[in-house]
């Protein structure tokens, strides 16, 4: 009986040692004193690598990033990270993280509004900072995301958030920075021979494009008119015409990319157009380059979209985009829980031709530039937010990815998560039982 009690108490102690019982950890407190990370290899995010580097930050901003030799240690809390690597916090664009918890449970879904034209809908107000998934994403180095609505022709506005916050207001890095347009598909799955649905679909597509044309036409003049009544849809789009908001066009098929860009340009949107998805971006690279369009490429870990394509086409697309001189970022779109694999799709791009630092940029600085937040984040440079990751080894390879520290605006994150809690819980159970099992064996 005695032994039994001992095990119980050991077990209880173990449970208590796990903080907060599987809750999402509390957000870290504001940076209170200057910090200095020393001895690591610094991957700035802009292609530069500094060996034996130091990174200092104070009040949430980076104050030093360079060789250890040049760092001022005075008054800093120094963390020795010798032999490790420092990276900018990774950025996941175009995601429903925080809008969706369990995809099969409708009550947990907040990413899709009804109706075709919802430019006024704002994703950030539904962003759930207490999602169980978020801490697991952070633990692999992803610290920022673009909360993005889906559905309809115009889904609404996205916002950039940082992934350690008490509430959505607290999380916002840049609110309502862009509007998302799902370009009406040119292709339709009929599941069989051509059928009446096809004609129907073509008609719907025409209608959608014509509705969109009217929306853009009316929105482009809305601000200059004296409006007796406020029109939420039109007013929400004003930023598209003065360049203060981005237009994210979701399109994959090569001809859709060309058609959609030409269309919105004709309707007065000249700048800050981003193609998202961009499956065929390589096929229309000349067009993208001529029009100075950036690309968020979704789905490196994807099958070729056509049976005749090179088997490694999605894997090597980032390299081909880079070769073609197209500004691009990567997004992990297979699942929400899988966003923690964002560094690894960049790694796959490396295995298929892309330079390692270029690959890093495609999930940090390039992304920040494309999203318009590069003055604040995206690289480890003086004056930017101290939003960075320290990893024991190469962050882009799951074999070596081992995040030891992560900071958002200088705040040191608690890297615990529900999964680690469950692991400890059951590992503890088996460890507690192990002597008993062995003892039983010995008795036999």
């Amino acid at each position: 009986m005695k032994i039994h009690k001992r095990y119980i108490s050991a077990f209880v102690a173990l449970l208590l040692s796990v903080p907060a019982f599987a809750q999402v950890p509390a957000p870290a407190a504001k940076q209170s004193k200057p910090m200095l990370l020393t001895g690591a290899t610094l991957h700035v995010g802009n292609g530069t690598v500094v060996e034996n580097a130091a990174v200092g930050f104070d009040n949430g901003k980076i104050t030093y990033a360079g060789p250890v030799s040049g760092a001022n240690r005075n008054g800093h809390e120094v963390i020795d990270v010798a032999g490790q690597h420092i990276y900018p916090g990774l950025i996941q664009p175009n995601t429903q993280l925080g809008l969706e918890e369990i995809s099969s449970v409708r009550a947990t879904l907040d990413m899709r509004e009804v109706g075709q034209l919802n430019p006024n809908v704002r994703a950030v107000v539904a962003y759930n900072t207490d999602s169980d998934v978020i801490p697991t994403i952070r633990a692999n180095g992803v610290l920022l995301s673009q909360v993005t609505p889906v559905g309809g022709t115009v889904s609404g506005s996205s916002s950039i958030v940082q992934l350690d916050a008490w509430n959505w207001e607290d999380a916002v890095l840049k609110a309502d920075e862009g509007i998302h347009l799902n370009w009406p598909n040119m292709l339709i799955n009929t599941g069989g021979a051509p059928n009446p649905r096809l004609a129907n679909f073509a008609q719907q597509r025409e209608q959608a494009i014509s509705d969109l044309a009217q929306l853009l036409r009316d929105a482009s003049v809305y601000k200059s008119a004296k409006n007796e009544k406020e029109n939420l849809k039109l007013s929400s789009m004003a930023g598209l015409f003065d360049g203060s908001k981005r237009l994210y066009i979701h399109a994959n098929y090569g001809k859709e990319i060309i058609e959609s860009v030409n269309f919105v340009k004709q309707h007065g949107i000249k700048d800050n157009i981003v193609i998202v998805g961009a499956g065929d971006a390589v096929a229309v690279a000349d067009f993208l380059k001529a029009n100075n369009i950036a690309v968020i490429y979704s789905g490196v870990h994807a099958l070729p979209s056509r049976s005749d394509e090179d088997v490694d086409m999605p894997y090597k697309t980032p390299y081909l985009l880079q070769q073609a001189g197209i500004p691009f970022a990567l997004d992990y779109d297979l699942s929400l829980h899988g966003i923690r694999n964002l560094p690894f799709i960049a790694g796959t791009a490396v295995a298929h031709g892309l330079d390692k630092e270029q690959a890093l940029a495609s999930i940090t600085l390039n992304t920040a530039k494309i999203l318009g937040i590069d003055k604040q984040v995206g690289s480890v440079e003086v004056g930017k937010d101290a939003t960075l990751v320290v990893s024991g080894g190469d962050l882009l390879d799951m074999r070596t990815n081992n995040v030891t520290h992560a900071f958002i605006q200088g705040r040191k994150l608690d890297l615990n998560d529900k999964q680690k809690y469950l692991y400890q819980k059951f590992d503890g159970k088996y460890q507690a039982e192990a002597p008993k099992v062995e003892g039983a064996k010995a008795q036999k």
């Binding site: 099969s104 073509a202 005749d308 469950l422 692991y423």
Partner: protein
Amino acid sequence: MRKILTIAACLALGAAGSAMAQETFPRNGVYDERTGLVALTNATIHTDYKTTIENATLLIRNGKVEAVGTKVQVPAGAVVVDAKGKHIYPGLVDMFSAYGLPEVKSERRNYGSPPQEESTKQGAYNWNQAIRPETNAVELFKVDKKQAEEMRKLGFGTVLSVHRDGIARGTATLVTLADKRENEVVLLDKAAGALSFDRGSSPQDYPNSLMGAIALLRQTYLDAQWNNMNPGREQNISLKAFSDANNFPQIFEADNKLNVLRADKVGDEFKKQYIIKGGGDEYQMIKEIKATNAPIIVSLNFPEAYNVEDTYDARRVSLDAMKHWEMAPANPALLQKAGIPFAITVSDLKDKKDFLPNLRKAIEYGLPEEEALKALTATPAQLLKADKHVGSLDKGKLANFIITSGNLFAEDNVILENWVQGNQYKITEVPSDYRGIYTLKIGQQPEKRLQIAGTPDKPELKVIGQDTVTGKISFSGNLVTLSFTKDKKSKETVRLSGWYADKNLQGDGQLPDATPVKWSAKFSEAMTQQAKKDAAKEAKKALELGNMVYPFQAFGQAELPKQETVLIKNATVWTNEKDGILQNTDVLLKNGKIAKVGKNLSESGARIVDGTGKHVTPGIIDEHSHIALDGVNEGTQAVTAEVRMKDVVNHEDPNIYRQLAGGVTTSQLLHGSANPIGGQSAIIKLRWGKSPQEMLVENADEFIKFALGENVKHSNRSPVHNVRFPQTRMGVEQVYVDAFQRAKEYEQTWKNYSKLSKKQKAAQGEPRRDIELETLVEILNNKRFITCHSYVQSEINMMMKVADQMGFKVNTFTHILEGYKVADKMRDHGAGGSTFSDWWAYKMEVKDAIPQNAGIMHKLGVTTAINSDDAEMARRLNQEAAKSVKYAGVSEEDALKMVTLNPAKLLHLDNRMGSIKPGKDADVVLWNNHPLSIYARAEKTFVDGIAYYDLERDTQLRQELEKERGRLVQKMLQAKTSGARTQAPAQRRASVVHCEDVEHNEEEEYLAY
């Protein structure tokens, strides 16, 4: 049969050219029956496909051939028709038609409809509505004048009418295309039995997959046999009819080459040699098709060229679709060359008028004319055992024949008349041939030359004076109309009308200035033979066809890679044996096996592969895959142990090749997870280019899929699905207990029966064989092993308790995301775990999944594998294994085993796969980097010592593929330019399936603009 002969014998009285009279029918008015005695003389008669008699006479009476030959005496009273210069052929036979039968309306309800478990057909029929052998086409058949005329115009006189509805379709009837009462045109009321894999109009859920259809057909054979032997046990009209229909030639409708093979396999099991209606792609697997010994009913449905003018859209047309467009017309010729007997059908043609042009195309592509005729006459007649009625023009056979202007297969030939049962149907009036050179005189104008060329029915006009102008000419009877411009530059038209008399033309006309004129055109010379030929045929280009490739798919090859002796030198070798990871080590592959592992090996004749700086591992084994399948879920009944994934392996899935490029060599192809007891697994090696049969791992143990949780209880489907038992995890347990209880009782029934004496056996009758319960009995007897889809701890625990209770073991829990919660229990039960590396949170039952799951199970001593359930992820399974190092601290060696040796153990194949050990299969991968690294790429993947994937060859294949596409694009553009019909580019691809997908979809994407 006797009845028909009796009636025919009575025809001496003579009906109006009919083979059968309506003896039993009263008449309104006086009798008007005629002997239909007709002699067609001086014709070229093709009495059968290989015999031609010149200057012969065909004598018919009472709808039958009375005599044929050169010495036929024309009896007095015969109507004599001079057929000089014309050809007579036997009327054509189409043995796969739906003539005169009601349209089959698919009553398949949509995805949102509630399931229908039971039959809604009232009466003592079969339990499943797709089994409708009680259908006799003859009872549904109605003469349809419009359809008959359409077919007669093509030259057909007789068709087999098949009611194309359901899996067992009852009997088909052989009828002529005469416009007579049904009683007269039916030749054989039941001429054939008809089968397919398509459930047709049945609204019932089961079967909703190909493998389910196959299982249902097999069970129906067994049920019919049992019913036959034990007639008192169950009254079943359908089963009786099924046995009856079995007595006729069996026609199986299969819509593609793989279904031809699948159908034949079912036939073999029940000692039936089916005649199989194919889809026109048989040439792609000619060796396997030949081996079936099945006569094939060949479709002439040649695809139209794709419109590839738009380069973006053209990319969407796959290589196999382009190649099939090019090669489909060669299908009949290739079948013939392979010695496969075949008949030709027009049933698949959207526009039936394509029949003769397509047939000519097939001839142009190498089918001898004689063989084409055979496939339309003698072969279908013989296959239907109707050769005493139709198929040739011998004495006593039906007077079914066509009269043509020339060789039936020639481009300028015209079918003039089609006689059916002695009834004459005029098809085309003989077009008079006015072609030649004439001297044209219009009023007082100088003489011009007038040339009429083209074909007799489409003459072309040229007027040659000071310059040459083309014009229009048309004949109507012997009236003629011409128009042409005054001269080359002018737009003013001269119009002439007139008539034909004594080889000359003459009449009245009007000049452009409205002056009326008299005109004449005097015949001066006939058209030369050469000119005629030129007009009839466009210059024929030599046929140039691309290579046959295996599989018929992008990255298929004309020559498959060969097994070689390969010596990989100086690599880092992950042995998965006691030796662990060996540096600077050589591996010798020979005769498909790993021959030696060691330092400084040498082997004469071996191809040396430098492995310096590279890694060699055993091939990756995916315990949970759904690639290479034509169907995943028979997601209908709670227990479908009878379905077999082996029946639906598709060797052409491009994911096979893609996964080889990721180092995968063996995959277990599992049934889906829609039911507690799913179907039987297929384990394949990724032998890209081989047939489905050749891909199966030889002598592998048999496995079956079980499933627990949300999918089987339909949690994530619409509320209309809340009716099938089970809807809770409580019910799931009862499904298993019940199923195995029944299995035990089934086994006992057979054991008891086998102990009986012969006499007792005869008295008692054999128990019914049930292929579902037989499968469960195999599990109880350790002859089949379970892979069980599972997530949460309660259900895992329950499954093991049921297994203990019923006396079997759960071999593997797959997915098993909460395995870490019950790993000790799994270990004690002896179950393995095959899991995802890091998936979670996508549904309620995976909200507690953790990436350390594999690590904990492994640590507790559970044989642990990492699987994909995903065609893409399978290409990176080595990296998925690496995540167990990252998240749970598993050693790298043990992590690699999770995708090699451990799945081999779970599949009972570790005696020949999963490690680098002499004597094991040479399934190895050469990596350019550490195999657990994101940066690793497979450079060579060997299966049985054959490099099915080789990075260098892949580069070459890509270039060849582009070249071949380029050639075919050009050819399609030319076809379009020369007037061929085209279709919009469509992309056909199998959707990526996971075990959750209830129905397998072929996706086709069309352009919506």
